[in-house]
Amino acid sequence: MSDGRASPGLRELRLEIEEFNSAYAAVLDAGKIEEWPHFFTEDAIYRITGRENADAGLPVGLVYCEGMSMLRDRALAIAKTTMFAPRYLLHLMSNVRVLSSSTSGVINATANYALFETLVDEKTILQQVGRYHDRFVRGAAGLLLKERICVYDSLIIDTALVFPV
């Protein structure tokens, strides 16, 4: 339908993506950043950018990774070299939509998310809300992200966004 409601045919995919996203959230919320690249293909694109950039077609990324080795380097740097205060993170993801599933096996989907951050001795803050714009492909072990662009509404980051979203 014009307003893009999913055909039942795509429902199974939607449910599978929900499970993928929940596993993805669990890894990040547990701080297991070195497992995070497992969710991506070798040639994956990963980018976090503000809605102002996305709307204007500006290419910059708060985080900008082209391919597995850059994903691994991001994980390595955060895990091994970067100094930051300890924190808890928690994601809420909802409203997964499958926009299309091409014969080439590429699945376009989106989901909304909220990221909550809690620092020692401070109240939980809403670090950002945004939307994932995803392209999935099917690997041996299930879905993998060929592309995830995280577009956040909360243009003003509070201090630092340490981990991927």
């Binding site: 976090i48 950018t49 503000g50 102002e52 950039n53 204007a56 500006l58 290419p59 910059v60 990324g61 708060l62 985080v63 900008y64 990774c65 082209e66 391919g67 597995m68 080795s69 850059m70 691994r72 380097d73 991001r74 390595l76 740097a77 955060i78 091994k80 070299t81 970067t82 100094m83 930051f84 205060a85 620092l119 401070e122 109240k123 803050i125 243009l155 003003i156 980051i157 509070d158 201090t159 630092a160 966004l161 340490v162």
Partner: protein
């Protein structure tokens, strides 16, 4: 801000007298006092300074406008029909509404939404609806002159595609304001090529705005805080580097040259740097490559142009940063990342990949923002005290080495004069 900042004990008691030790000490209250903050707005941001407000590339055509700030004060930057750039205060002359709401846009005039008073792109009041009333009733008095009720206009200076503004009249030129040494590296970045905006980052830092200047006048921290730089050979104590300070002491350029042949950490330095760990290797080291494109001996220059502007030339990833103070305890950073017209797609992507170093999610940016937060919390929550700025002894001004706080002392010599402290 996160939780409300706890009251600083004794602050009111403080008599704002500078410590006897002079420039080797900075008292907490320059970072925590509301009274000091208000004086800074008046004497610094609203005073005799050139403040960054925009890149010309953000105003590509006649009618382009941008919401911006001068200190905490909202302004609008416009390009008029003739292509001339204007900066006006974002406050309607009628009832005071902050009239321009969009971050960026195009318009033929500025219209206040409340009663639709209309200003041209230079800020002149062009029309007042029903100025003559209706059916000979009401309207503005006959002695009302449109030309007396425009938006407040600011002085404008541009160089190399960068737009600065000032509330002060009789400002010296931007070139005289920054001085030749600073200008050299400024021109190396803004070298006449047309800029193309690659995008924006915005973040708050729960710290006093001056800490951002201090952080970039403190080359000492780079080799200690930033393990990434050290481990991947971008900066190591002993590499060729300089901390340039202008004659006034307020501006600076932190410069370094990437060692051509990768990390070269002498063992003496190693043992000083806990950050160093010999066995870390990047999977994609090429994203740190430096493609020579600037007429400069330096592969990295970070320029601090007082009071609200930073120019980042970190290898090939380029950006300008605007400081928007929000009281003594918080400031907003607005980052505009850019490249040049004519960059190949690969060069643009190289700049974007290198962007992972900087910004509020950058390998270095995260660390600086966190460190500044820690320092402000120390100032806000500890018993009143002062910080120690004794590296390099009493030396001030430009230095060719990085184990010094000379540039911070130079800044505070200037600051104390300006602020009568």
């Amino acid at each position: 801000m996160r939780d409300g900042v706890p009251e600083k004990p004794n602050e009111m008691a403080t008599d704002l007298r500078w410590p006897a030790e002079g420039l080797s000490r900075i008292p907490d209250w320059v970072y925590t006092s509301e009274a000091i903050y208000r004086r800074e707005i008046e004497r610094i941001f609203h005073g005799f300074t050139w403040n960054f407000v925009a890149l010309e590339a953000e105003l590509p055509e006649p009618g382009s406008f941008k919401r911006s700030f001068l200190g905490p004060t909202p302004v609008v930057v416009t390009r008029d029909r003739e292509g001339v750039i204007h900066v006006v205060e974002n406050r309607c002359a009628h009832r005071g509404a902050e009239l321009c709401r969009a971050a960026l846009g195009k318009a033929t005039e500025l219209i206040c939404p409340y009663h639709q008073w209309t200003y041209d792109l230079a800020g002149n009041l062009a029309a007042v609806p029903f100025r003559r009333g209706v059916q000979n009733q009401g309207g503005m008095p006959n002695d009302f002159r449109l030309e007396e009720h425009g938006l407040r206009k600011l002085k404008v200076a541009t160089r190399g595609g960068v737009v600065f503004a000032s509330f002060a009249s009789g400002m010296e030129s931007f070139e005289d304001y920054v001085g030749s040494e600073i200008l050299r590296d400024f021109d190396a970045t803004f070298d006449g090529r047309t800029l193309t905006v690659l995008g924006y980052y915005r973040n708050t830092i729960p710290a006093n705005w001056k800490m951002y200047h201090e952080n970039l006048k403190d080359p000492y921290h780079a080799t200690l805080l930033h393990a990434f730089l050290v481990n991947f050979g971008l900066l190591v104590a002993g590499n060729k580097s300089a901390m340039v300070v202008d004659a006034s002491g307020r501006h600076g350029t932190m410069a370094s040259a990437k060692p051509p042949d990768g990390p070269n950490v002498d063992s003496a330095a190693k043992k000083e740097m806990r950050a160093f760990s010999a066995n870390l290797r990047l999977n994609e080291p090429r994203f740190l490559d430096y493609v020579r494109e600037f007429d400069s001996p330096w592969s990295v220059t970070m320029q601090t142009i007082w009071p609200n502007f930073i120019v980042q030339r970190e290898l090939n990833t380029l950006g300008v940063r605007q400081i928007v103070p929000r009281g003594p305890h918080e400031f907003l950073m607005i980052w505009t990342m850019f490249g040049y017209e004519g960059d190949s797609e690969e060069m643009t992507r190289h700049r974007l990949r290198q962007g992972n170093l900087m910004g509020p999610a950058g390998f270095l940016g995260i660390e600086d923002n966190e460190a500044m937060r820690f320092v402000q919390q120390g100032m806000d929550r500890s018993r009143p005290a002062q910080s120690l700025v004794a590296l390099g002894g009493r030396e001030e001004g430009t230095t060719e080495h990085i184990i010094t706080e000379a540039a911070i002392r130079s800044l505070y010599r200037h600051y104390r004069e300006l602020m009568d402290l």
